[in-house]
């Protein structure tokens, strides 16, 4: 009996569907699916030969194969390692993807080595790290971020116009911080050095998101990337610390002092590992769950509890806050932390899910942080005219206001969402739209502050 063409095409469709179901099972790999599919097809062919229609045969064959849950449980029992997502040694896939992965790794490690050498480059021109500490301090981002940007420009195949534009920004920034006549050890120099990486990091974000920089999703991806990058960087730094400790210890036992070597190359490793971390985050993004949202889940309730207790204690003692010069800096840190908790819980959220108990905790955190900061700002506003406007104070106050505005509006949007008056996507959009504000403020501190305050 020749197979009916209509029937056989619908059979192909059904088998395709069944294959897709299997693909979602982590414990069953592509090669296993091919093996099972061969089995299914032979079973169907046998049943059709016995007189069944192909769709009936398909149903029976699928049933005999066993339930997907039971099947994937059995596979998982045999291949338990498959439930631990493997990053460094991924399961064999097709050759094209494999070579793409390899060239990605080669470029990333090439950039990492380049970053390590870039740190050493100024020494060739007689700029000793000990004697020219302020030069190195000002130029930290230029050892790393251009290479990160370059890596993503290569990876995302960014157009020439964008590359030109990015290059101009980096060169302009480098010229500016190196030709401003800062007072040695002045606060404008310190502020510029601290704010420059923030401004340039967002420039890197443009390269990271590529053509998607104008979209909410593109910027959100960059936010996720930055969070994971930080976590991976910390992990790599811990590993590096252990390695150098062992290195110095074991060489000491044979009478060799490795200390100068370690001291000499440590900055290069610190710079290079940023690139390695960036590559890891990229390579693992679809393989391993993001860590930042997990940490957010853990710490949001704890921070909320601490802040509520703080507010309660402040009311109880009734004494108000003790105003010191560094106090506002501490509150900047607090707002930044709360913002990070908010942003990374947003980044992991499916915007379709309705409000739940975690959202209530998040709101408590937001409101209590706002109250605490409002108290601090109130206290400091009364004294600031007395103290005068130094560059440091203006910078700290500026950051506080920027974060306060963001969190205040976020709270409003969050409240609307929880009371079902608004959708979660607006909160997401607000956060991604706000990204350029940080960059703009950081750029102002770098570019405008020094001349404004006479390079003090």
């Amino acid at each position: 009996m020749a197979p009916n063409p209509v029937e056989s095409s619908s059979l192909e469709e059904q088998i395709g569907q069944w294959r897709n179901f299997l693909r979602r099972r982590q414990a069953i790999h592509t090669v296993d699916i091919a093996e099972l599919e061969d089995h299914l097809r032979e079973q169907v062919a046998g049943l059709v030969e016995g007189g069944l229609a192909s769709d009936e045969a398909f149903l029976i064959a699928v049933k005999r194969m066993g339930s997907l849950d039971a099947l994937s449980r059995e596979f998982a029992r045999e291949h338990s390692e498959r439930l631990w997502k493997q990053l460094v040694m991924p399961p064999p896939e097709s050759g094209a993807a494999d070579s793409a992965r390899r060239s990605d790794a080669v470029v990333a490690f090439g950039c990492a080595i380049a970053a390590g050498l870039a740190v050493k480059l100024p020494e060739l021109f007689g700029l000793n790290p000990d004697a020219n500490a302020s030069f190195y301090f000002r130029n930290v981002p230029f050892f790393v971020l251009p290479l990160v940007t370059g890596y993503f420009a290569w990876k995302r195949r960014i157009g020439r116009a964008s590359i030109l534009w990015l290059t101009i920004v980096f060169v302009a920034a480098a010229v500016l911080v190196n030709f401003y006549s800062f007072t040695p050890k002045g606060s404008t120099e310190m502020l510029a050095a601290v704010h420059l990486p923030i401004a340039l990091l967002l420039v890197t974000g443009v390269a990271y998101a590529g053509s998607r920089w104008r979209e909410v999703a593109g910027r959100m991806d960059f936010i996720r990337f930055a969070g994971e990058l930080f976590i991976y960087y910390v992990l790599i730094a811990l590993g590096g610390g252990v390695l150098t400790a062992f290195l110095t210890m074991i060489f000491k036992t044979i009478g060799i002092d490795a200390e100068p070597f370690v001291q000499g190359w440590l900055p290069s490793c610190v710079a290079g590992s940023v690139l390695v971390a960036a590559w890891l985050v990229e390579a693992k993004q679809s393989v391993i769950e993001n860590m930042a949202p997990v940490l957010t889940r853990l710490f949001t309730p704890l921070f909320a509890a601490v802040l509520v207790t703080f507010l309660g204690a402040m009311l109880w003692t009734g004494g108000g806050v003790n105003i010191e010069r560094n106090m506002l800096m501490a509150f900047d840190g607090l707002l930044l932390m709360v913002l990070a908790l908010l942003v990374y819980s947003i980044s992991a959220r499916d915007s379709g899910t309705p409000a739940g108990p975690f959202d209530a905790v998040q709101l408590v955190l937001l409101v209590s942080a706002l109250l605490a900061d409002a108290v601090a700002l109130w206290a400091i506003a009364a004294r600031i005219s007395e103290w005068g406007f130094t560059p440091n104070r203006v910078a700290v106050l500026g950051v506080n206001l920027i974060l306060l505005v963001n969190l205040a509006w976020s709270t409003v949007l969050y409240l609307r969402f929880v009371r079902q008056r608004g959708v979660f996507a607006t909160l997401e959009r607000w956060q991604t739209d706000y990204l350029p504000v940080y960059a703009a403020w950081a750029a102002i501190v770098v570019v405008v502050f020094p001349p404004l305050f006479g390079f003090a």
């Binding site: 090669v31 296993d32 091919a34 093996e35 099972l36 061969d38 089995h39 097809r41 032979e42 079973q43 064959a61 005999r64 194969m65 066993g66 039971a70 099947l71 059995e74 596979f75 029992r77 045999e78 291949h79």
Partner: protein
Amino acid sequence: MDINKDLMAASSTPLVLAILAEGDSYGYAILKRVKDLSGGHIEWTDGMLYPVLHRLERLGHVEARWEVPESGRRRKYYQVTAQGKAQLADEHRQWQAVDATLRGVWHAIAAAAQPTASLSPQGA
């Protein structure tokens, strides 16, 4: 007659190894052979055979290779290794021992049941 799960699981290794010792084979054909040999009493859920084959492969009892038969579809063939044959011989001895023991007991029960039935009138 349903054979219980533990017994199925215990017999799967020697059964698969023995079928492969007859000649290289693949999943569907192995299942068919099991069904024929058992007269339909042993019927595995089809999918469950594959984890068993993969376990035997991991242990080094069988080797797998992909071939393209005339049907044109890639198919994974399994072949028993020397180690697998040794394992089969070992399993064979174990099953014989279990079988002999059970046989002895079945006989004893049967023997005990019959004499009591016929002797009881005498003893009374």
